[in-house]
Subunit: 412 residues, 2 copies
């Protein structure tokens, strides 16, 4: 895309009403727009990043047999009363609204109830299970405070998956399959090496732990105790000698770290299926309970985490596979024809390029390429062209190479 056509602009002014680094940088770079605290619109470059993250998550969920659906935002009161999650004393972050006839509705903050209710139309026999079903959808939580930018939104994008299994062993197999898919997601996003499966509280209706995926970060809100050799951690909230024994962790080998949660998976036992009266009939014609798991990744939160984690003092630094473009193209001096030619050549190769064809000083172009965090900057000048070459600068490492156009294409 030509930057002269892109409607967003970068800004040197740090937003005064934001505390979180991710929100400050993403707003300055023109990736998001703040509608109100915890509620952000995604502008063209920000939407591309969001979509790229979604697609990676989608591919890994599909790879383990996940079937994608899209549930609704509007939720009926009756459904959540069945599981005792309607009352504001039980769930304190509902947004609620009303139909024209006065019936109360909620805005979905999670979807266990509607998923189980929908599946009840299709699940009868043992032949209908197991099931992995997921969605990538906008969710709503009426947070009292929303100061963390994309890390904790009132309106946010989430991938939530649910598993339905016939036996504890089958549930465990699905649960571990999902955990493995999660590690693949973080690997692909470039944070696999610093992201750890972390035992956390399982909630009131299971004796098991839940599992968080925690990315090491000085900015994180969580404290975890980490066994690097086992690549396992335990959340501070459940850090007791008894739990360490259960997890097979040795206190002397644990290191305290700050971390930010980038996913969580929960055993739900039979809480929701039983409450909604959904069972299956086994081979002997006996009615049996269905064991459920749920698996969340905050897509917009992850965008905030990645923005904040990789950023440096010049701005954003996107991993290649979620960047809104691979190349930021700049021509310095009287080289418009060559620069435009290279732009077209790269586009023909299917390489996504931001071509800075604006009539502004090269210094501003360099600064914007850094603020936006595009992985590679390609610069043409009379000097580079005199050698029949272009300059390739790596945003992350700062490494500079002189390459011919063909070498550049081959490299990408």
């Amino acid at each position: 895309m030509r930057l002269s056509q892109l409607f967003t602009k970068t800004s040197k002014t740090v937003p005064a009403d934001e505390q979180a680094i991710n929100a400050k940088l993403l707003i300055q770079a023109g990736f998001i727009h703040k509608e109100m605290a915890g509620v952000y619109a995604y502008l063209p470059l920000g939407l591309k990043v969001l979509d790229n993250i979604k697609q990676i998550v989608r591919e890994e969920m599909n790879a383990i047999g996940g079937q994608e659906v899209m549930m609704t935002v509007l939720q009926p009161r009756e459904l959540f009363e069945k599981t005792d999650r309607w009352d504001d004393k039980k769930v304190d972050n509902w947004f609620k609204t009303k139909l024209d006839n006065g019936s109360e509705l909620g805005l979905g903050f999670t979807h266990e109830e509607p998923i189980v209710n929908t599946l009840s139309s299709y699940v009868n026999s043992y032949k209908d299970l197991p099931i992995f079903v997921y969605q990538i959808q906008t969710k709503f939580r009426n947070e009292k405070r929303a100061k963390s930018g994309l890390l904790r939104g009132r309106e946010f994008i989430m991938k939530d998956m649910y598993s339905l299994a016939r036996t504890p062993a089958e549930h465990d197999e699905l649960y571990e399959r999902a955990a493995t898919a999660y590690t693949k997601v973080y690997d692909r996003l470039g944070i696999g090496d610093i992201t750890y499966r972390t035992a956390a509280d399982g909630g009131v209706f299971t004796k098991k732990f839940s599992d968080e995926f925690q990315t090491l970060s000085p900015l994180g809100e969580d404290t975890i105790y980490l066994d690097e050799a086992k690549r396992l951690a335990i959340n501070n909230e459940i850090y007791t000698d008894a739990n360490l024994v259960k997890l097979g962790l040795d206190k002397s080998k644990l290191v305290e770290k700050r971390a930010v949660e980038v996913g969580n998976i929960f055993p739900l036992e039979t809480k929701y299926t039983n409450a909604l009266g959904v069972y299956y009939t086994d081979k002997n014609g006996q009615q049996q309970p269905i064991i459920m798991g749920c698996y969340g990744i905050g897509i917009s939160r992850l965008m905030g985490v990645l923005a904040e984690h990789f950023a440096d003092n010049k701005g954003l630094v996107w991993p290649k596979n979620i960047a809104p473009a691979q190349i930021y193209l700049i021509g310095i001096g009287d080289v418009v024809k060559d620069t435009t030619g290279l732009y077209e050549k790269l586009q023909q190769q299917g390489i996504e390029v931001l071509y800075d064809d604006r009539d502004v000083h090269p210094g501003q172009k360099f600064a914007d390429s850094e603020l936006m965090g595009i992985p590679y900057r390609v610069t043409l000048s009379e000097k580079t062209l005199s050698q029949n070459k272009v300059e390739l600068t790596n945003r992350s490492s700062g490494e500079i190479k002189l390459l011919t156009a063909d070498e550049l294409v081959a490299r990408l």
Copy 2:
């Protein structure tokens, strides 16, 4: 995908609580799930259809320079008060909710205000215009009645685009560019020949007409008067002699038709930009008003229209480019190995196949392939294999061909 893995099932029972054919068929085929009147979840096959429609619309909006964004559902009261669209007496189909601190919010039913408000951060100079910006997003309207399935939802998916122009001539150029893109969308969806640009009421703040795109259908809610030669129509609502003169239509050449609206485009003049105080500075340093247009396509409504329009007495009939799969594959008798082999071969070619590997009677498989509306059914039996061939049945025409596997692949 193997049907034994798909969690949805077809149903012979017509939903008793639905009046609309589109909802009845889509529920029976397992494409959607009704959460409440006018609020539907999209199940795996339904989501594919929806995504395919979205992608066609997205490509055509991108082709005319549209920049995609994603605005928020939650909308602040203050913003809509500026344009006098907050009060329930002015807009009677708001869903409203509250922040924890008591501030009132609305659920976006349209996005002129937040779009203009967002663009105000980026638009100053004549160099920043024109702009085409669009989103494909979930919208909410608190309809009193919602009996038309996907045709009129309380929660629905819409593509809404907005143009900002410097002059009336520039606005007109953008408006016609969008109209042309709309006709391309309907052509690609297979309803181009029966979809007509139709003059309709422009609203209170313009002397111009708005334009609807109306698809001929006995099921339509609208009455239009059509000049087939000019491929232009006029909506019954504004069918006056004076308007016919303005439109250059000859009453004697018009035919009355029933039709369903599949898109509409509106000149907004300067109503929203002026109300929100957004102007541009021209070459002479003078502040000037910005002329706006808006362009809507109901994506989920279009899915309902297409479902209903192409359906026959056996079920759904999807156009090829939005069908959830191209082929419904059935093996009759002891031909599992050959059928599975063909399934894998077709998948390797990137052809989407629903492989009915369920242990059910062939009659049910045939009926399901018809109810689901998959464009081609491929049947293998000992008889076809004895000729080294497979049977290809066209869902729409009923035409049957015997082909070799290679001929089948070449044909698709």
